[in-house]
C-alpha cells in the first residue's frame, strides 16, 4: 500500500519570513506608546512568524486535511457521541446579534440571547426531569464540579459535615473521581458487577454517614441501562447522601428516562454530545447542570430570570447568598448554547425521542453484526453504545485491540474508544450514533469482520497498521521522556523589533 493524500506540513515557524504580512489594520501614530513607562514595555518582541495571508490559509487548509472528522467519515468513538453537527447551527451562532454581543452589556440590550437561554434552561429541565438548570458550566467536567460543590453546600448548610466520601464505580469516567478530589472529597471506588453495571449491593454496603454523594453514569459506560437504579437511589437517600448523574450518555434515553423523575438529585448535560454542538478537536463544549428543588438555592450565579413584564434579566451578584458562586466568567459558553437551542428546536419532543431510539437501534444492530467475529462481554440489549472485545483474537493470534483500531484507519474509519472502560479486557467501546446510515453501519461491520480474518491470516499486516495514514505509529515514550512542548526559534532568527 502506498501513502497517498495529504502531506505533513512544516510548522508556521518555518514558514515565516521577515517583511511578510501587514495590511490588516491602520498604522498607529509613531508615538502611541511613548506615554508608557519604559520598564513596563516589552524589550524583545515575541517571535511570532511573519506570514502573508495566502500562506496562512494554505497552511491551515493543508493541516486540516491531516484530520479525520465527522464531516469526513464514520467516527464511532464510544462515550463521545460523534453525531452530525448541523450547518444551520453554525450559521446561527455567527449571526451578529449573537456573536458580537458583549457579555457585560446591560440586560436591556441582550433580550434576544437571554430569552434563548431561558427557553433552553426550560427545555433541558423538561428533558431531564430536573427542577431547574444552570447553563454556566463550560464543559461536562466543570458541570460535575458544579454539581458536587452544590452537594457540598447542601450538606454543609445542614451542619452535616462528617460526609467526606464520594462513591464512584470503577467503570466511571476519570472526571468523576478527579472532580471529587477537586471538591475536597475522598473517592471510594466500587468494583463493577459482573454484568458491567453498578454493583448495587456493594454500593449499598459502602454507603454510610461519611457518604456525601454517589456519582453514577446511566446508561453506564459500557452502554447498559442500570436496571436496579431505583433501588440504589433509595439506599443513597436513606443514607442521607445525594445522587449525581453523569449525563454523558443522555443520547440513549431522551423521552424514555428522566433522571430527575427517577430520583437523581443533580446531573450534567454534555451539549457537544447529546445536542450536537461540534466537538472542535477537543472543545468547546458546555456542561449545563440540572438540579432538584432541594439544590436550587445553591445554583451558580448568575441565573437567567424572567420578569413579570415578560422581559429577561441576569441575577445580580449577591442576590442569592446561598449560591455556590461563580464557576467561570460571564453567563456561560453562549455561542455553544445557541447551537444546542437550535438543535432542540429543530427536533421537538418526538424528534428527540427518535434520536435516542435510532441511536439505540443502530448500536444494537451493529452489536448483532459483530457478535460472531468478536467477543461481546455483556450480551443483553445495549443502549446507544456497546463493548466488543478482541480478547479471543488476541489469545489466538497475538493481535490486540490497539492493532485492530489502527487497521480500521486504513479502511477509512475512525477507531472506536479503546481500553475504556478499563473493566473489559481488550475492549472497544463502539457508539454509532443516530446519524449514520445502515449502509455505513454495514460497511463498518464488514470491515471489522474482515480485520478479524486478517488477524488470523496475516497478523503482521494488522500489527503494523496503519499503512495509509500520513504517519505511522508514534514514539510516545520519547515524547514523554524528553518533552518538546514548544518551538525554539533558532539563534538569529528572531523577528526584528519593528521600532
Amino acid at each position: 500500500m502506498s501513502v497517498t493524500g495529504p502531506r505533513l506540513q512544516p510548522t508556521i515557524f518555518e514558514l515565516g519570513r521577515d517583511g511578510r504580512g501587514g495590511g490588516k489594520i491602520p498604522h498607529p501614530p509613531a508615538d502611541a506608546l511613548d506615554r508608557l513607562p519604559a520598564d513596563a514595555r516589552r524589550s524583545r518582541p515575541p517571535a511570532i512568524p511573519a506570514m502573508n495571508e495566502p500562506d496562512v490559509v494554505r497552511h491551515y487548509v493543508n493541516l486540516s486535511q491531516l484530520n479525520f472528522a465527522v464531516d469526513t467519515g464514520f467516527y464511532p468513538l464510544g462515550s463521545c457521541t460523534m453525531k452530525f453537527n448541523p450547518k444551520l447551527n453554525e450559521w446561527a451562532a455567527r449571526l451578529s446579534g449573537f456573536a458580537d454581543l458583549h457579555p457585560m452589556a446591560p440586560d436591556e440590550v441582550a433580550q434576544g440571547t437571554l430569552e434563548l437561554l431561558w427557553e433552553l434552561e426550560e427545555a433541558l429541565a423538561e428533558i431531564s426531569g430536573m427542577q431547574a438548570v444552570t447553563l454556566q458550566p463550560a464543559a461536562g467536567a466543570q458541570g460535575e464540579l458544579t454539581g458536587i460543590l452544590m452537594i457540598r453546600a447542601y450538606h454543609s448548610e445542614r451542619g452535616d459535615t462528617g460526609r467526606t466520601e464520594v462513591l464512584v464505580p470503577d467503570s466511571s469516567h476519570g472526571t468523576n473521581p478527579a472532580t471529587a478530589s477537586m471538591a475536597g472529597y475522598t473517592t471510594i471506588t466500587i468494583p463493577s458487577a459482573s454484568d458491567g453495571g453498578v454493583d448495587v449491593d456493594a454500593f449499598t454496603a459502602a454507603l454510610g454517614p461519611r457518604t456525601a454523594a454517589v456519582m453514577i453514569t446511566n446508561p453506564s459506560t459500557v452502554g447498559l441501562f442500570e436496571s436496579r437504579i431505583g433501588e440504589l437511589l433509595e439506599a443513597v437517600h436513606a443514607a442521607g447522601a445525594l445522587a449525581y448523574m453523569d449525563g454523558a450518555n443522555l443520547n440513549a434515553i431522551m423521552g424514555r428516562f428522566k433522571p430527575g423523575e427517577a430520583g437523581f438529585d443533580v446531573m450534567h448535560f454534555n451539549v457537544h454530545k447529546t445536542f450536537s454542538t461540534p466537538h472542535g478537536g477537543g472543545g468547546p463544549g458546555a456542561g449545563p447542570v440540572g438540579v432538584g428543588d432541594h439544590l436550587l438555592p445553591y445554583l451558580p450565579t448568575p441565573r437567567v430570570l424572567r420578569a413579570d413584564d415578560g422581559g429577561y434579566r441576569l441575577e445580580r451578584p449577591d442576590e442569592r447568598p446561598r449560591s455556590i458562586g461563580r464557576m467561570r466568567s460571564f453567563v456561560g459558553n453562549t455561542g455553544v448554547l445557541v447551537r444546542a437551542y437550535a438543535y432542540i428546536r429543530a427536533h421537538g419532543a418526538a424528534g428527540l425521542r427518535e434520536v435516542s431510539d435510532d441511536a439505540v437501534l443502530a448500536a444494537n444492530y451493529l452489536k448483532h453484526r459483530l457478535a460472531d467475529a468478536y467477543d461481546i462481554p455483556f450480551d443483553r440489549p445495549c443502549k446507544h453504545e456497546f463493548v466488543a472485545s478482541a480478547a479471543t483474537i488476541k489469545r489466538e493470534t497475538g493481535v490486540r485491540t490497539l492493532d485492530i483500531a489502527k487497521r480500521l484507519i486504513d479502511f477509512g474509519f475512525h477507531p472506536p474508544t479503546i481500553y475504556f472502560p478499563l473493566i473489559v479486557e481488550e475492549g472497544m467501546l463502539i457508539e454509532p450514533t443516530e446519524t449514520e446510515s445502515v449502509e455505513t453501519l454495514d460497511a463498518f461491520a464488514d470491515t471489522l469482520i474482515a480485520i478479524a480474518g486478517e488477524a488470523a491470516s496475516d497478523p503482521e499486516l494488522v500489527r503494523s497498521a496503519p499503512h495509509t495514514a500520513p504517519v505511522k505509529r508514534l514514539d510516545e515514550a520519547t515524547a514523554a521522556r524528553h518533552p518538546n512542548l514548544r518551538w525554539r526559534p533558532m539563534a538569529g532568527a528572531e523577528t526584528p523589533c519593528p521600532d
Binding site: 489594520i25 437501534l361 505511522k472 514523554a480
Partner: protein, 467 residues
C-alpha cells in the same frame, strides 16, 4: 427527525436482524416505575422557520451600539480568514486527538498554539487549554498550592471581580483565599497595595502558596509586577500573572519579571464576544512546573519511520489516567478556540499585533483627552494601556441614558465593584483599534449633552469627587 438517515424500511431491516419486533423492546430494561413522563417541548421547526426564529432573537440583541465596553472582553478586528478556516469540518467536527495517526492536523496546530503562546508570555510550558480567563486563573491558583504544599493564596483586588469569584468557588474544597486591597489614593491609586501584600505574606503561621495579580488590572492600570514577584518569591510563594494577550505585544511579558505562572483570557485573539463564550483560558508556566500544569499538552516526536510528528504527552497528569490523583478534572475544553487564536496570530503577524496594541493605546489617549476637554477626568493617576476609569456623577443613570443615544458607555463600575466607594460614580472605558476618531467625538458629545440634561454638575477627582 431532521438529520437522521433511517427510512422505515431501514429500521425494519435492523429490527429483523436483531430479531425483535419493536424499538420498545430495546428499552424493556427500564423498570416500569422509572419510565419517563411524556416529553413536553415546543413542536419541531423546519429549517426555514427555525432560521427565521433565530434571526429574530439575534435581532433583539443590540449590537449596533457604539461601544466603549471592555472589562475583560475586547472587540478587535478578526481577519475573516480566521473564521473561514475554523469552519472547515476537518477542524470543528473532529474530537480530542486520541488517535494521533489521523489527528496530525489538530496535534500540530496545538503544538503551534503552545509555541506561539509561550512566545507571548515568555514562559516554557503552555497548556492547551482552559475554559476561560477565570477558570485558568483558578487552575493557576490551585497549581501554586500543589507545588508548594501550602493552602493559602493571595489575590489582588485588581484582578477581574468575576475571576476572583471563580477562584473563590474553586477553593471551596478547603483552601484559603485572601484579597489584597488596592491603594486608595495618590499616584498608585487603583493598583495593588504593596505594603498590605508584604504584611499578609509575613504571617509564619499561615504561609502563602501563591500571589495573583493582573496586568493591566481590572481598572486598566499597569501594576508593579516585578515588585509583586519579588515580594511573593521572598516569602517562598509562587507568582501568578493574569494577563491580556494583545497587550503582551508591547508590555513586559510574565517571564521577564519572574512570574512562575501566567493565566489569562485569550478572547482578544480573534474570538468574538458571544455574550461570554466560548472563550480561551490561557495557562502557562515555567519548565519547573511542567508536571503540575493541568490540561492537554502536545509534544513533538517521531513516527516509526522517523518522520516528525506530534502527540498528546505527559498524560499521567490527566483525569482519564490518574483519576482521583489527577492534576485537575479538566478534559474537553477549548481546542477550537486555541486554533482560532493561532490563526489570528499567524494572520495578523508580529508587527500587526504590536499595531493592534499601539492603536488601542492611541485611541484610548485620544478618548482621555477628548473627555478631559468636557471636564470628565480619570479616577486614577497611574499609567494605563487602553482602558481607564473616569468619574461621572450618577454614572449608572448616565450609562443607561446613553444607550438610548446609541452608545455603550463602558461599564458602570458600581455594578462590578459594589463594595468599593471610590468607584461608586465611575465608568470604565476602553478603546481598541476598531474604535474610530468619529466614534470618540460622537460619544464625547453625547456624554456632554446627557450630563447637561440630567443637570447635576460634574464632579471630578480634582474637585474632590470620586477617587
Amino acid at each position: 427527525m431532521p438529520y437522521g438517515p433511517h427510512t422505515s424500511a431501514d429500521r425494519e431491516r435492523m429490527l429483523a436482524a436483531i430479531g425483535i419486533d419493536s424499538i420498545d423492546d430495546l428499552f424493556a430494561d427500564i423498570p416500569e416505575a422509572l419510565r419517563a413522563s411524556p416529553l413536553d417541548l415546543p413542536p419541531p421547526q423546519p429549517e426555514l422557520e427555525l432560521a427565521s426564529r433565530l434571526t429574530q432573537l439575534a435581532a433583539r440583541n443590540r449590537t449596533d451600539l457604539v461601544s466603549f465596553l471592555g472589562a475583560g472582553v475586547y472587540r478587535h478586528w478578526s481577519p475573516p480568514a480566521v473564521d473561514q478556516l475554523l469552519l472547515r469540518g476537518e477542524w470543528y467536527t473532529a474530537y480530542t486527538p486520541y488517535q494521533p495517526e489521523v489527528s496530525q492536523g489538530t496535534l500540530q496546530s496545538i503544538y503551534e498554539y503552545e509555541s506561539l503562546m509561550a512566545e507571548l508570555v515568555d514562559l516554557d510550558v503552555v497548556s492547551a487549554s482552559h475554559y476561560d480567563g477565570a477558570a485558568a486563573t483558578a487552575e493557576a491558583a490551585l497549581m501554586t498550592c500543589r507545588a508548594t504544599r501550602r493552602e493559602r493564596v493571595l489575590i489582588s483586588r485588581g484582578v477581574h471581580p468575576q475571576y476572583r469569584a471563580t477562584v473563590a468557588t474553586y477553593f471551596e474544597g478547603g483552601l484559603q483565599l485572601d484579597e489584597i486591597p488596592l491603594v486608595a489614593e495618590g499616584a498608585a491609586a487603583g493598583t495593588t497595595d504593596l505594603d498590605a501584600l508584604e504584611a499578609m505574606l509575613a504571617d509564619p503561621a499561615n504561609p502563602v502558596a501563591g500571589v495573583v495579580a493582573a496586568n493591566p488590572d481590572f481598572l486598566g492600570l499597569l501594576e508593579p509586577m516585578p515588585r509583586i514577584a519579588e515580594l511573593a518569591h521572598a516569602a517562598g510563594a509562587l507568582f501568578v500573572a493574569v494577563v491580556e494577550p494583545v497587550s503582551l505585544a508591547v508590555l513586559a511579558p510574565p517571564g521577564s519579571y519572574g512570574a512562575d505562572i501566567a493565566a489569562g483570557e485569550g478572547q482578544p485573539l480573534g474570538i468574538a464576544p458571544q455574550y461570554g463564550g466560548p472563550f480561551l483560558g490561557i495557562l502557562a508556566a515555567t519548565e519547573a512546573l511542567t508536571r503540575q500544569i493541568p490540561g492537554r499538552l502536545v509534544g513533538m516526536t517521531t513516527d516509526l519511520d522517523g518522520q516528525r510528528a506530534f502527540v498528546m504527552t505527559m498524560r499521567a497528569r490527566e483525569q482519564d489516567i490518574r483519576r482521583d490523583k489527577a492534576a485537575s478534572n479538566i478534559c474537553t475544553n477549548q481546542a477550537l478556540l486555541a486554533l482560532a487564536a493561532s490563526i489570528y496570530l499567524a494572520t495578523i503577524g508580529p508587527h500587526g499585533l504590536r499595531d493592534v496594541a499601539a492603536m488601542g493605546a492611541a485611541r484610548a489617549a485620544e478618548l482621555e483627552s477628548s473627555l478631559a476637554a468636557i471636564g470628565v477626568r480619570r479616577v486614577h493617576a497611574g499609567p494605563y494601556l487602553n482602558e481607564f476609569a473616569v468619574g461621572v456623577r450618577d454614572a449608572r443613570a448616565v450609562h443607561r441614558r446613553l444607550l438610548d443615544r446609541g452608545f455603550l458607555a463602558g461599564l458602570a463600575l458600581a455594578d462590578a465593584e459594589p463594595d468599593d466607594p471610590t468607584l461608586a460614580d465611575a465608568l470604565l472605558l476602553c478603546a481598541t483599534e476598531v474604535t474610530t476618531s468619529a466614534d470618540i467625538a460622537a460619544f464625547v458629545a453625547a456624554l456632554e449633552e446627557t450630563m447637561k440634561e440630567s443637570a447635576p454638575p460634574l464632579v471630578t477627582a480634582a474637585e474632590g469627587g470620586p477617587r
